[in-house]
């Protein structure tokens, strides 16, 4: 179902739940994987994904159709991720590298993370990037998003995003060479 049709059905009380259920089915994987790559842990990603959709539910009536629905949902998911990671650092009074170390350990020990050694090393290298740069990298490299869409979601200029991505790639390659 197209977004426009979903929104029209959501606006009608009798089809509101059905439309929202379809919206969740349509976007759940994109949202979940976007979050999961940032927070690593499945339980955290699961909780945040649900939280994102609750926020979508609460604010969908205010959604302006000038922008695309999925970029709007992505933006909510991105904000949730950054807030979560920020709180995590603050809660445990840990500097950034300690949270990265904790997440890095999960990559080695978690049963729901697979992949060969190179893949795991890549994930650990990603954790060494600042959160926002990691977001940029994930959106470009894994989600293959256009810079213009990323710009709309992150509120950053296309030029800055391009520079950030290329810098992230350089850093990752350096990390991988070092290890």
């Amino acid at each position: 179902m197209e977004d426009k049709e979903l929104l029209e059905k959501f606006a009608q009380p009798e089809s509101r739940n059905l439309a929202f259920n379809q919206l969740v089915r349509k976007y759940q994987q994109k949202v979940y994987w976007h979050i999961r790559k940032m927070v690593i842990d499945h339980e955290d990603a699961d909780d945040l994904t649900q939280e994102v959709f609750v926020k979508v539910w609460k604010n969908l009536e205010n959604f302006r159709q000038g922008s695309q629905l999925y970029t709007w949902i992505y933006r909510i998911a991105t904000n949730e991720c950054l807030t979560f990671l920020s709180n995590k650092k603050r809660r445990f009074f840990l500097p950034i590298h300690d949270v990265a170390a904790e997440l890095s350990e999960k990559i080695d020990t978690s049963p729901d993370i697979s992949g060969d050694e190179i893949q795991r090393k890549l994930q650990k290298a990603l954790l060494r990037l600042p959160d926002k740069q990691r977001l940029v990298f994930n959106m470009k490299y894994y989600d293959e998003m256009k810079y213009e869409e990323m710009s709309e979601i992150l509120g950053t200029s296309v030029g800055a995003l391009k520079a950030s991505y290329h810098l992230a790639v350089k850093k990752i390659e350096e990390f991988l060479k070092q290890d």
């Binding site: 969740v24 994987q29 050694e117 390659e173």
Partner: protein, 148 residues
């Protein structure tokens, strides 16, 4: 651990999602989200009956006090000038003339209106002043210089 060569590029690594989810996770997720939205909707009720009742009880006497205060305030208001004009309109011209002849003491400033009244026939006893005295008063006050 695998050692990367010096010319290593990110594009050398195949793109692969290393993360996994429990089986059937995405089949169950929509239902779990809907449970949470239903719970969130219940929480959005602005006034819970348990909170609203004591507030209503506290507001009732306050409202009564406010109504009494407004009532007392309005009844103690002095009559408005419009009412006075209306009342005066009901008094006949003869009665007004009789009253002024008997009780009114005209002030010097009242002569300011003499120019307008000149054409009208006014009883001498009402004015209680001679034409000469009136002219002298007019000269004294330089009425043309006074703004009304």
């Amino acid at each position: 651990m695998t050692k990367m060569n010096k010319d290593f590029k990110l594009s050398d690594i195949p793109k692969h999602n290393v993360y996994q989810v429990p089986e059937g996770y995405f089949d169950r997720l929509p239902a779990r989200v809907m449970e949470r939205t239903a719970a969130a909707e219940k929480q959005q009720v602005p006034w819970r009956p348990g909170l609203w009742r004591p507030v209503r009880l506290a507001l009732a006497p306050l409202l009564m006090l406010l109504l009494v205060f407004v009532g007392v305030y309005l009844t103690n208001q002095p009559a408005q000038p419009e009412d006075q004009v209306l009342n005066l309109a009901r008094v006949s011209e003869t009665e007004i003339m009789d009253y002024l002849s008997s009780y009114a003491i005209l002030e010097s400033s009242d002569f300011a209106e003499l120019n307008n009244l000149r054409e009208q026939e006014l009883p001498a006893e009402l004015l209680n002043v001679t034409p000469t005295a009136a002219e002298e008063e007019l000269e004294y006050y330089h009425l043309n210089d006074i703004d009304y």
